[in-house]
């Protein structure tokens, strides 16, 4: 077993929330505007509600196997082979999603800040950071997230408040965007963004029991939902639905419009800082999770060499898409819409198998009693 250390719910909530919220800085807000118009903020709340339901199922599963993490439970209930497949699905999800996030970050950086630097250079440097933070282990990541969370939160909220000069409540009209049906369907489909709450189940061994896992899972989804919905709402208040769909990084664009006289403008640099730190942590967590699952599945004791390999794999996958459109509308969009199935289906199957096993265990006891 790899040693991942112990930490409290605050650290875990910070870690998961940063991993989830980092997505809002990139192309996602404008992509969701294409689907639901001005009601993106509402859609993401529906996604969060769906994610809460899915996490409840995960929690039910954890309750049936106290003291075990999700990877162990998959193997114990579905057997080594099927359990490993389920775990490897999770591994692939983290790896591909981490790569997509890295590439999305790189592309947005290239568009707005570093137009001349080659993507491989930006990604390479970024992955050095990811590698170093990952090697220090999960506990360090969680404690770092706890320390950075208030800074990132204040940075984000300050920027949203300062951008208030460009808000217009009328831009939220029509209230239901392209229709309530589309909001609900897209909301349910795009719940994957909150799916990182499953990290709480994977790192169950590092948390102090089921109550903490429950607290971490629910709290991180709720806090992330408030933050993401708030960001999308502010974005919709700044850009009407017809131009909102065109922007590469809506939040960055929103910040660049802040202008309070000659001496208080061009605040993008502050935003850039929060953006980079949050993305670094998010990619690190995903790479580490992929490495951790891999080690758990293949019973590898030392995670460090695996982390290095994961960084190389992440780089390779991230460099594969040919352009920004393929990243935003292909990789990222499809991952948001379908990644949750990779969690939900194994969890439902495992839950059913566990229930069947439970009943089988209880039956002989009952027959003994009746005799």
């Amino acid at each position: 077993m790899i040693k991942e250390g112990k930490f409290g719910p605050q650290e875990a909530i910070s870690l998961i929330t940063i991993t989830i919220v980092a997505r809002v800085f990139f192309t996602s807000p404008s992509v969701i505007t294409r689907f639901v118009g001005s009601a993106g903020w509402l859609m993401t709340l529906i996604s969060a509600a769906t994610a809460l339901v899915i996490f409840s199922l995960v929690y039910l599963l954890l309750r049936k196997w106290p003291g075990k993490n999700l990877i162990d439970i998959y193997e114990l209930s579905a057997g080594r082979f099927i359990g490993s497949i389920f775990s490897l699905a999770l591994f692939a999800g983290f790896l591909i999603d981490g790569s997509a996030l890295l590439r999305e970050f790189t592309e947005v950086m290239k568009v707005y800040v570093l137009p001349v630097s080659p993507p491989s250079y930006i990604m390479g440097l970024f992955l050095i950071g990811v590698l170093i933070v990952s090697i220090y282990g999960l506990e360090t990541q969680a404690r770092l997230a706890r320390v950075l969370a208030p800074v990132l939160f204040i940075g984000l909220v300050a920027v949203l408040i300062l951008a208030g000069q460009n808000y217009s409540i009328h831009r939220l009209s029509p209230f239901f965007g392209y229709g309530l049906d589309k909001i609900i369907i897209r909301g349910i489909r795009r719940n994957s963004v909150y799916g990182y709450s499953i990290i709480a189940a994977i790192i169950a061994g590092s948390l102090q029991g089921l109550e903490h896992i429950k607290k971490v899972g629910y709290a991180s989804i709720i806090i992330s939902a408030i933050l993401i919905s708030g960001c999308v709402l502010c974005f919709s208040l700044t850009f009407p639905y017809y131009t909102a769909q065109e922007i590469t990084s809506p939040l960055y664009e929103m910040v660049s419009l802040i202008d309070y006289g000659r001496f208080f403008q061009r605040l993008d640099t502050i935003f850039l800082f929060t953006w980079n730190i949050a993305t670094l942590l998010a990619v690190t967590v995903e790479v580490y999770m992929a490495a951790s699952i891999y080690c758990k599945v293949f019973r590898i004791q030392d995670i460090r060499p695996i982390i290095a390999s994961m960084c190389v794999l992440t780089f390779t996958i991230a460099i594969t898409p040919s352009d920004l459109e393929e990243v935003a509308l292909g990789y990222v969009n499809r991952l948001r819409e379908y990644l949750w199935l990779g969690v939900l289906i194994p969890v439902i199957i495992t839950l059913l198998l566990s229930t069947i096993k439970d009943r089988k265990k209880r039956k002989p006891a009952k027959t003994k009693k009746s005799r």
Binding site: V116, L180, F239, L257
Partner: protein
């Protein structure tokens, strides 16, 4: 040196690290120090030429005529040397097939690379604006260096002529002067503070039509030194657009009025006074001095400093496809002067003066709304109020507000209160002995 490294490692608790790992760490530090020194995009500040304003005209030898006004960096922050105009800025014009090719071509004539990060103004010539700006705005909106907070201006003359004539009168800091002139003029309501963000969203809007700041070169010919005929025309207030203000001295260019667009084509101009009325309806008006004709002496005026008391409230009622708007405007003001010395500070004259202001504003606003209705353009952003009556974007777009605006009805309700009368509480008449004798 080795001792220092040994000591540092000991301090860091890394004394027990194997020799091989130590070498690896040192190698990594060395490599990193080279990588982090700079990246591909690293450039020193003085390696750029900072563009202050961009002008776009129709080209003669090619599609675009791109004009840029830039800092020459010869005189530091506000130098006095260099440039054709005698300050630290220069103008450059080029005909090019596209905006970006133009930039590349200009770069071949300049030692430093053009940088638009600090550009303050985007100027379209009226000729281009009337033909349609969509082709010309496309590269600008996509260009990462041009901030969407840049001001959009339509120049009555060519953009080149406008930018060539523009130079700061007070001080040499041209970018500061540009920023100040726009912010100061928009506060008095003579221009609408239009940034690229508003202009571009207006172009694609289903709620409203875009507008831009109207600017022009003033050749000072409207200033008549003497002339009895003009002095006696006191019955109506004069209306001007940019370049027409009767003045002498000051800068060559002025920002005054509004260029109104339908889609991407400019269809008309609003005068400075009309722009003020528009600014009040939009709630963007801060404060400004208005000359109200004296109720008893038509050759005299009562200047009043008028400001918004609160944001205007626009309500929309729908009767079938017809939309009826109720616009409630609350204004307040201070009397600045009473040329006739009548006691407008007190009742009943005070109420009469307030009513006169309301009447004047209502008339001017109604005439402006009528003008825009004839043009078929909603520049009042009434559409966004109507939009809240629709549940989905499809329903809203099918309603086709921009077509319906022509048939809408607008009721203006103004409440105006005189709050203060300056440092005088009462006006007493000037004693004229001759006049007293006649009265007796």
């Amino acid at each position: 040196m080795i001792n220092i490294i040994k000591l540092s490692l000991r301090k860091l608790g890394l004394r027990n690290i194997k020799r091989k790992n130590k070498i690896m760490m040192l190698a990594l530090i060395l490599i990193m120090s080279f990588i982090f020194t700079s990246c591909y995009d690293a450039k020193e500040l003085d390696e750029y030429t900072y563009v202050i304003a961009v002008g776009i005209d129709k080209g003669v030898t090619d599609k675009y005529r791109l004009t840029i006004k830039f800092h020459t960096m010869k005189g530091g922050g506000g130098g006095e040397t260099g440039g054709t105009i005698g300050a630290d800025f220069e103008i450059l014009v080029i005909d090019a097939p596209t905006f970006f090719t133009g930039i590349n071509m200009i770069n071949s004539a300049l030692a430093r690379e053009l940088n638009f990060m600090h550009a303050k103004m985007l100027v379209f010539s009226k000729e281009i604006a009337e033909e349609g700006v969509s082709t010309f705005i496309a590269p600008i909106i996509r260009f990462r260096q041009i901030r969407h907070s840049i001001h959009v201006v339509v120049s009555k003359e060519s953009a080149y002529e406008f930018l060539e004539k523009y130079e700061p009168i007070e001080g040499n800091a041209i970018s500061k002067a540009l920023e100040l002139i726009v912010s100061e003029t928009s506060e008095t309501g003579y221009i609408i503070h239009t940034r690229l963000h508003e202009f571009y969203t207006g172009l694609k809007s289903t709620f409203r039509q875009p507008m831009a700041i109207l600017a022009g070169v003033n050749d000072m010919k409207n200033f008549v030194e003497t002339g009895e005929e003009l002095q006696n025309q006191y019955s109506t207030e004069k209306e001007y657009t940019a370049g027409e203000i009767p003045r002498k001295g000051g800068g060559n260019v002025e920002f005054y009025g509004t260029a109104v667009f339908n889609g991407d084509k400019m269809i008309g101009e609003l005068t400075g006074e009309e722009t003020r009325m528009l600014s009040i309806i939009l709630g963007e008006f801060k404060r400004g001095n208005f000359s109200i004709q004296d109720l008893y002496y038509p050759d005299k005026y009562v200047p009043i400093d008028i400001r918004m008391e609160r944001q205007p409230k626009v309500e929309a009622k729908m009767k079938g496809d017809k939309v009826i708007f109720d616009v409630k405007i609350n204004l307040e003001g201070d009397i600045l002067a009473i040329q006739s010395h009548l006691n407008y500070e007190e009742e009943p004259l005070k109420s009469s003066l307030e009513e006169a202001v309301v009447k004047k504003f209502k008339e001017e606003m109604n005439s402006l709304i009528e003008k825009c209705r004839e043009w078929g353009v909603d520049i009042f952003r009434f559409g966004r109020v109507v939009c809240s009556n629709f549940r989905t974007i499809q329903e809203w777009e099918n309603f086709n507000w921009l077509e319906k605006f022509k048939d809408s009805e607008v009721n203006i309700n103004i409440i105006f209160n005189i709050r203060r009368t300056g440092i005088l509480l009462k006006s007493s008449p000037i004693i004229d002995v001759e006049e007293l004798k006649t009265q007796e």
